[in-house]
Amino acid sequence: MVIADLEAGVGTLSRIKDGSIDLLLVVTEPTVKSMEVARRAVDLARSKRSRVIVVGNKVVDDADRIRLQTAFGPDLHLVPDDPAIREADRDGLAPIDTAPDSPGVRAISDLATVLA
């Protein structure tokens, strides 16, 4: 099992050989800029025949959820905005260590079950 954190944006993605990634997770916030990049990443992944799951991150309310689902479909994986994750980032710690049962961490962990 290999998981690669790619360069921000679509630069690396555009250079990767077709079929070299089995699954692409595209992480986006409910902002115009973030969703624009995500749209491009999804198009790229499809052109390279990779399976794609869009992860809608830092979802605050229904408006955010609807915005994301409208753009990426009802199957997108939602991760709620989570102060515990922000706090872990401030302290330089892994959220899974500091707040394993926090809603955001749980939602990310649930991705593992969707992957198989």
Partner: protein, 105 residues
């Protein structure tokens, strides 16, 4: 399975990648985590801490200055540019992921 995580800077892709790597590591016993971002931060989300994360980047950059030697084997790559983390996750800071060449990370 080879998983890639993409997204705009600041969207939380590294947090997602790191947290998921730990969960998969717990489930499967081992995971290889590659940080190919030009500004590597995955070590922090994995729980290795900021200083270790920065150290791995320095080692990686040492290749360019000649302070670090190229590694001819995968084991060598893991040894020099990698670090074992919690839950069976092994982190390697790599350079270009679009040219995966065992000789040059």
């Amino acid at each position: 399975m080879r998983i890639g995580v993409a997204g705009k800077g600041g969207s939380g892709k590294t947090t997602v990648a790191g947290t998921l790597a730990r969960v998969l590591g717990r489930r499967d016993g081992q995971v290889l985590a590659l940080d190919s971002d030009t500004n590597p931060m995955l070590g922090v989300s994995l729980g290795l801490g900021p200083e270790v994360t920065d150290l791995l980047v320095a080692v990686r950059q040492g290749l360019e200055s000649g302070d670090t030697e190229h590694q001819p084997t995968i084991e060598g790559i893991l040894e020099t540019f990698g670090r074992a983390g919690p839950d069976g996750v092994r982190l390697v800071v790599v350079n270009r992921i679009d040219q995966i060449d065992p000789g040059c990370p």
